[in-house]
């Protein structure tokens, strides 16, 4: 966003020199994001209802406006004019802070997303870690809501969010470490640059799968919507919330979903890159428009996949989720980490003066060779996992059958 800084500085307004202009441009960018991201709620809820409707062989909203587009606006008006209830024995301050924190935590992620070439809120050298760090605030918000509502079901939802945090956080961080290792940087902009030859989803499909599953669990959406499982604990952590505060939780959830889709696009689908075309060669505005179209398309692909999940998959049971996390995703991501580290080491360029690494054995093969080797390593780990899991599944099924046979005598013929 340097052009914005330059432009503001060139206006020659008194007391508005370069540092102030930089501060101002960040403020403008932050305000745009803070308005636009919740504004996406209108489109996302409409999209979700339409898609789920089609999946369930319905039409979905079609009364208000063309294609029912204004339905979401009507819903929002309804929600914001509803009575705002605070339970009598609630912990008032915490109860009122929690919805705001939920929204803030999901909006904060957008600070490190490179939307178009050269345009990023803050190109932190620790961008990936920042994403994980602000994710913690979302969990905190849910905990606060669950505790302060003074409601058993809300508290159960809060317990569940901690159990889920412990489950998804480790595989997610492992997947992010793998991406960092291959890209050689934690900065989001540089990760996008590193994917100019090949997107990581093609070289590391398994890593993407781990990241995406963990990410969906973090957003608390179906099939991992245990924290608000309506058939078990009414509405989970937001049982007692109504009106605009419930709306804020909803905004938080949808913005979180959008942020996860953006992150997946940036980390695994090359962000603003378009295959076979180097958009940075075009003049600024054209490349910006092309890049934004590209990243939006990828983002909506992931949004669609998440809605598709919701339309088709039943909810996980909490112990199933824990099992999948601790007994499957954590070991798998550890094995992948070692395998990818090995491959990266084989192809280490070794030319950087700051890092005294020995040139890799296969560095002559270059980037295509590394892509193929990464893919091979991923597929190898996948094959090993599938064969191991199927063997374990067969064994446990046999054991169950034996147990059933031992308890129930075979009915007489």
């Amino acid at each position: 966003m340097d052009w914005l800084v330059d432009w503001i500085a060139s206006l020659q307004i008194p007391y508005l020199t370069e540092p102030e202009a930089r501060f101002l441009s960040h403020l403008i960018f932050a305000s745009i994001i803070a308005v636009a991201a919740p504004g996406m709620l209108i489109i996302l809820t409409w999209l979700e209802r339409k898609i789920i409707g089609r999946i369930q062989n319905r039409i979905g909203p079609n009364r208000a406006g063309p294609f029912g587009l204004f339905q979401a606006i009507a819903d929002m008006i309804k929600m914001f004019t509803k009575e705002d209830i605070t339970p009598a024995n609630a912990d008032r301050v915490v109860y009122n802070i929690a919805p705001g924190l939920a929204v803030i935590s999901s909006i904060l992620v957008f600070a490190v997303i490179p939307f178009v070439p050269g345009f990023i809120g803050a190109d932190l050298s620790v961008g990936i870690l920042y994403v994980v760090a602000v994710g913690g605030f979302g969990t905190l918000a849910i905990l606060m809501a669950g505790w302060s509502s003074n409601n058993k079901y809300a508290l159960l939802g809060a317990f569940r969010v901690v159990a889920m945090l412990l489950t998804y956080e480790i595989p997610m961080v492992m997947a992010l470490i793998i991406v960092t290792m291959v890209a050689g940087s934690m900065s989001m902009a540089q990760i996008v640059e590193a994917q100019s030859s090949m997107w990581y989803i093609f070289t590391m499909p398994l890593v993407f799968l781990i990241f995406f599953l963990a990410g969906v669990a973090e957003t608390g959406r179906s099939p991992f919507d245990l924290i608000e499982a309506e058939s078990e604990i009414i509405a989970g952590f937001h049982t007692e919330y109504s009106g605009i505060k419930f709306g804020m939780f909803m905004i938080g959830e949808y913005v979180h979903m959008l942020a996860l889709a953006f992150l997946s696009a940036v980390l695994f689908l090359g962000g603003w890159q378009i295959p076979f075309i180097d958009i940075t060669q075009f003049p600024g505005l054209v490349s910006a428009i092309l890049g934004f179209l590209s990243i939006s398309l990828k983002t909506f692909l992931f949004v669609f996949i998440m809605m598709w999940f919701r339309g088709t998959l039943p909810r996980f049971r909490i112990d199933h989720l824990q099992n999948i996390g601790w007994k499957f995703l954590v070991p798998l991501s550890l094995v992948l980490l070692v395998a990818v580290a090995f491959v990266v080491r084989l192809f280490a360029p070794g030319s950087s003066s700051a890092v005294p690494v020995v040139p890799g054995a296969l560095s002559a093969l270059g980037a295509p060779g590394e892509a193929v080797a990464l893919l091979a390593a991923n597929l190898l780990v996948l094959a090993g996992t599938v064969s191991f899991v199927s063997r374990m599944a067969r064994r446990s099924k046999n054991r169950q059958l034996r147990a059933v046979a031992a308890v129930e005598p075979v009915p007489a013929k």
């Binding site: 007391y15 020199t17 540092p19 102030e20 024995n89 912990d91 915490v94 932190l124 050298s125 620790v126 870690l129 920042y130 994980v132 760090a133 602000v134 994710g135 913690g136 605030f137 969990t139 905190l140 905990l143 606060m144 669950g146 505790w147 003074n150 058993k152 508290l155 809060a158 317990f159 901690v162 945090l165 956080e169 934690m186 700051a354 890092v355 054991r399 169950q400």
Partner: protein
């Protein structure tokens, strides 16, 4: 740049308000859950300090480990070990007055020490890429401490699971 220095100082004062105010909240609040939330505020202020001290990596790690993990565990333990919305009882023990005196004495003594020593301050700036430097140091001269921390964390993980586990007959399904 006449703007630069006061601006940093404004941020510093804001972060100090967070850190110290949060810390006072932690020790003085009668509701343990509020204490933990004040701890979040205090840790956030300390993370802001790290940013001002150009240790961005540490700031993010602070947010991730403390707020993302430790405080959440603390909140979980509080939710687990207290009945909801129990009428707040006195959270201080009988020796709180002695504690105040000890803490005040400690603070004044530390202030005297801090102001009586002339620290060898340099105005050099840190190298641009501290993350790279950290990585090299952890896998170079600090390899043994790094491994020891890894062993400590695994031991803590296993120990915590063992301690907190309910002694029930494991039912294999």
């Amino acid at each position: 740049m006449p703007f630069e220095i006061p601006f940093v100082q404004i941020v510093w004062w804001a972060m100090t308000a967070c850190a110290i105010g949060g810390a006072i909240g932690v020790v003085s609040s009668n509701n343990l859950f509020h204490s933990a939330l004040f701890l979040v505020l205090s840790l956030f202020g300390v993370a802001g300090y790290y940013v001002l001290l150009s240790a961005g990596f540490l700031a993010v790690v602070q947010l991730m480990v403390y707020i993302g993990a430790i405080v959440i565990l603390v909140l979980f333990a509080i939710m687990f070990s207290r009945r909801m919305m129990k009428p707040t009882e006195d959270e201080m023990n009988r020796q709180w007055l002695v504690s105040v005196i000890v803490a005040a004495a400690l603070f004044s003594w530390l202030i005297v020490v801090v102001n009586s020593v002339s620290w060898p301050v340099t105005s050099a700036a840190p190298t641009a890429d501290t993350v790279l430097q950290l990585g090299l140091a952890f896998l170079g001269s600090y390899l043994i401490p790094f491994l020891v921390v890894g062993v400590l964390l695994s031991a803590a993980l296993i120990g915590a699971i063992f301690l907190a586990r309910e002694k029930v007959e494991a039912e294999e399904i």
